[in-house]
Amino acid sequence: MSDFRGPAGAAQIQGNLTDRQKTMLNAAALLCVLGILALFNQYGSEYHVRILNNMAIFVTLAVSYNLVNGVCGILHLGPNAFVAIGAYTSALLTMSPAEKQLNFIINQLIWPLSVVQAPFALSLVAAGVMAALFAFMISFPVFRVRGDYLAIVTFGFGEVVRVLCNAAQSLTNGPLGLKNLEPYTNLWWSWGIAILTIVSITKLINSSYGRAMKAIREDETAARAMGIDPFRPLLLAFLISAFFSGIAGGLLVHLITTVSPTLFIFTLTFNLLIIIVVGGLGSTTGAVVGAMLFAWGGEALRIVENPVDLGIIVIPGIPGMRMVVFSLILMLVIIFAGHGIFGRREFNWEQLARFLSRGGKRVGSP
């Protein structure tokens, strides 16, 4: 960066912002988000608040999933396992012993869990830690292989966890699931975690650790020749991804107030994969935008299922039509933006400033 520090306007036209300016802009953006959340919290309908909560949870999941799939370039197909483990851990910790007795009618819940109860915040931390522990356990077989093989191994572990949720009745209550959880998740929790995830993972990606991960994605042999043991950055990404996915699982079940194994079928992984591919594999910005579009679009597309009154004839609503439209949109994105909406680009203030100064004042471009 040059030593020249012109007036703010000139700096913006050149697109060079000082670190201080960027920090200010980040703080301002954060305040804006918090302001919008406060408005919705106060005046928004229950429906809108619910969509926003969903959005935040999917943002958390997508950003952490992208760390493994996009940044490290590993096709990992088992995030549903991490979410499931986080969800059950958190739910079993926040339920009161009395509520647990009511829920577990066929098999009793095993001992220490049947009597403990923890506050929501602690249960979220435990959810993240348990998911990360599971990730650590499976990482040794998982990272012995690469490519399609790794995809199959992780997919297998995802299914194993789902089946265990069904079968381990004295731990998960099997297919009956857990009901009547306290609806602890609100906008502050869900978006707080989402922002924490975005900020910490972005910092990691932009650090030396992130560069090592990208180097492995670009060429693992060359990365090894540069002194990087591929297992370590991959394990790091895997654990951090699992940690935040586990927390998101905890948030999810305290939003919908029930847990059942059907929540964590492969469709969940598949949706996350769609989100990060449409957003742009490897771009955190893409993951955030993709997750928000996904959570909002799923609801907004309900319009196409309503009956249409054309004056002369009335076309009746077709249930399931939104999935057809959704698939169409997906295909269009893949055809016209093969690398997703953002590709591997990230949002940055300098580009925004350049874009605005060019569009607004028609300067900068020759």
Binding site: L204, S208, G210, R211
Partner: protein, 258 residues
Amino acid sequence: MSFFEMRHVIVQFGGLCAVCDFSIALGAGELVGLIGPNGAGKTTVFNTITGFITPTEGDIFWQGQNIAAFPAHRVTASGIARTFQNIRLFGDMSVLENVMVSFHFSMESNFLLAMTGSSKHRGLEAEIREKSRRHLDELGLGHLASEKASTLAYGQQRRLEIARALATGPKLLLLDEPAAGMNPIETIELAALIRLIRDQYGVTVFLIEHDMKFVMGLCERIKVLDYGKSIAEGTPAEIQKDIKVIKAYLGSGYHAGG
């Protein structure tokens, strides 16, 4: 004990003996070439030294240790860096980032410091960035620092590979066909660069090359490999006259001087 030494190294792939009983000793600051016809096992020798292949038998002594069983990243950390025959850059990363990756293994930080953006970690990052920039400037790539590596011209990509390997701080640098695909002017520049690396960085250079003019002009000592066996060793002048070398390259029907 010599600076670097391979003793009776054998690499077998199934029934094929890719490297059979290969021995070499390198002195500190030497500039040595490894030549031989296609498929002679030259790259396998390099892969064995750098830990990508574990030798079936034999020892590799380096810095007082036997590194024959070391994995690739440990070999690099111990001070041996390499480039690849087919260029292997981190294509989607910038030129500067490509070099910065080389400093990762020696960085003394941890991921929590990175994720929380602590000032200690940011200081280390800034230091790495500064070192990488200086490094690129020294090797004449400074003006390309923010370009994507995959968009560089071929000769620049080769140069960046060398820069990246040097940034790991090696004492021994292995170059696998550095002049492949270069035009005569680029080749002359490359020879100057390799001499500069040896003289200024004090790095011992061991290189594979097919361009005979380049090898004979640059290397002080040459080792010749054919069918996994070492068939000759000596100064460029000696190698050029060696009957076994001429046979290996041109076939036994050729009579030297005849």
